[in-house]
């Protein structure tokens, strides 16, 4: 099969095909992304638990009293908890800044972002069908998706909008930047932005860790790979792109082999003779 022969729409697979595809793993996430994901997850766990424990004012509080007392007990004092909250938040901010600077070419260029978080027509349809499917209200198939499905893209959009806000408001309140009036607004927007991410985070965790059909996506965040069958069924457009890359690479190899064949046969000692590029 050559690159041009790869199917453009998903077709039903035979049992044998499906089984072979289920055995083959294809790379989805770079090891840096896997590490960053879990660093991010741990940071969020720590920041959310201490953040909730820090808001004690009756006007803003949402955690129950026993939780506030428990957290204060763990850290000894709320001042310690705040120091910890700021330390973890700062580390998290710095790591992401480093990621943004060094990973810019790979992950954050406009073309990459467009491809990763830009919604196309299939994505809009996917969102509709996916929601109806959750509540068993449709029999339509899900439209083919790229490396990230529309739900993941929406979550990414939300996160890309809120993360800079969380970092900036966090830094502002921690270090009293820009004076009193700005600090007062910053803390409010810190609460707001975290609330928005939490709402998306609940769906993100449910879909990743609990929802049965997306289980391979969860494991891909550990191994970095997914099986080809999952890719074919859930991320067809991405599967196709990977396949095209693979076949192009294979075609190139074949071409190279074919081109090199006669030379080696005719002159087995071509290297020693110094004539290295006879073809």
């Amino acid at each position: 099969m050559s690159a041009s022969a790869i199917q453009t729409v998903p077709t039903p697979l035979t049992g044998e095909q499906a089984e072979t595809m289920a055995q083959r793993q294809i790379k989805k996430h770079h090891v840096a992304i896997v590490l960053l994901h879990w660093f991010n997850a741990i940071s969020w766990l720590l920041e959310l638990s201490t953040g909730a424990g820090l808001i004690v004012s009756p006007y803003y509080r949402f955690a129950p009293m026993w939780y506030l007392q428990m957290m204060e007990g763990i850290f000894g004092s709320r001042a310690n908890m705040l120091r910890f909250h700021i330390a973890v938040g700062l580390t998290w901010t710095i790591v992401f800044l480093v990621y943004a600077i060094f990973g810019f070419r790979h992950y954050l260029r406009i073309e990459v972002l467009q491809h990763e978080i830009g919604l196309d027509r299939d994505d809009v349809q996917w969102l509709k069908v996916r929601t109806l499917l959750l509540f068993n209200r449709t029999k339509d198939p899900l439209p083919p998706q790229g490396a990230y499905n529309a739900g993941q893209k929406l979550f990414a959009l939300l996160v890309y909008a809120m993360i800079p806000l969380i970092m900036l408001t966090g830094l502002t309140t921690s270090f009293h930047w820009f004076g009193t009036a700005i600090v007062a607004w910053a803390i409010i927007f810190h609460f707001f932005a975290v609330g928005m991410v939490v709402s998306g985070l609940m769906i993100h965790i449910y879909m990743g860790a609990v929802f049965p059909e997306e289980k391979p996506a969860f494991y891909s965040m550990i191994t970095g790979t997914v099986d080809e069958l999952y890719a074919y069924r859930h991320h067809f457009k991405w599967w196709r792109a990977v396949k095209i890359q693979e076949e192009t690479w294979r075609d190139a190899l074949r071409f190279k082999e074919a081109a090199e064949m006669p030379c080696t046969e005719e002159r087995p000692d071509s290297k020693s003779s110094g004539n290295e590029t006879p073809c």
């Binding site: 006007y59 959750l134 707001f192 769906i203 049965p212």
Partner: protein, 243 residues
């Protein structure tokens, strides 16, 4: 547990500012700010029977402080002995408490970017000393003590005398700085420096009026949605092999 209060005898106060100076030097209060202020009220009556008074204002350590709930980080809190204090480690200097205080007792310390106010010299109390302003007052116009102790001077002034709280019909949050002396002095002070209604800052209003509801709604709705999906998943069960 003691319940600290202060009585300011307006008949004895001569407006010498000693308490303000003592407070400033004790707490390194920057220029232009004050934890304790001595201000002259207006005059009333007709010459030659004129009357004036001095109003010494500071944090009142109210029974129902409006500054405590206004603080988003919980930096402002009330000790069990009734003293309202600020934990500088937690303060972010957002000014919410400054707006919430009806007595204008708080200020932002520009040097540290955090709020500051009278705490009845808590560190001196811990060492068994009187607050600096009380110890300094040459006229003994400031009396400090424990309202739970029936032998204390403040107890006598507050429960046996006619010491008054600086309260109006609308703003009655139980201030624990009392004013003794002639009734007209207290009235004069109240007329000139009446407590103002506690204000909520614009960010606080935005949060309290709709932003908090919006956040709770969004988080609640997504939680509910996925809970429904989860129970649907539990009721249908999982398949070993995808179709």
């Amino acid at each position: 547990m003691p319940r600290y209060a202060m009585v300011i005898d307006q008949e004895r106060c001569v407006g010498c500012q000693s308490c303000a100076v003592a407070c400033k030097s004790e707490w390194d209060v920057p220029n232009g700010s004050a934890r304790t202020k001595v201000r002259q009220t207006g005059t009333v009556g007709h010459f030659p029977k004129l009357s004036t008074s001095f109003y010494v204002s500071q944090c009142n350590h109210c029974d129902r402080p409006t500054c405590v709930p206004a603080c988003p980080t919980g930096a402002t809190y009330q000790d069990e002995n009734g003293v309202v204090r600020v934990n500088r480690d937690l303060c972010i200097g957002c000014c919410s408490c400054v707006a919430a205080c009806p007595y204008g007792a708080r200020y932002i310390n520009a040097a540290i970017g955090k709020v500051d106010k009278c705490d009845f010299c808590a560190s001196r109390l811990g060492r068994g000393l009187q607050p600096a302003c009380v110890a300094t007052c040459p006229a003994r116009a400031k009396i400090f003590g424990d309202l739970e102790d029936s032998s204390s001077d403040v107890f006598r002034f507050v429960y046996c005398g006619a010491a008054k709280r600086m309260e109006t019909a609308n703003i009655a949050i139980g201030p624990n700085v009392y004013y003794a002396g002639k009734a007209e002095h207290a009235l004069l002070a109240l007329a000139s420096f009446a407590p103002v209604p506690p204000r909520i800052t614009a960010p606080g209003k935005v949060w309290g009026s709709f932003l908090n509801k919006f956040v709770y709604l969004v988080v609640g709705a997504t939680f509910l949605g996925q809970a429904v999906a989860f129970f649907h998943q539990l009721s249908t069960g999982e398949k070993q092999f995808e179709e």
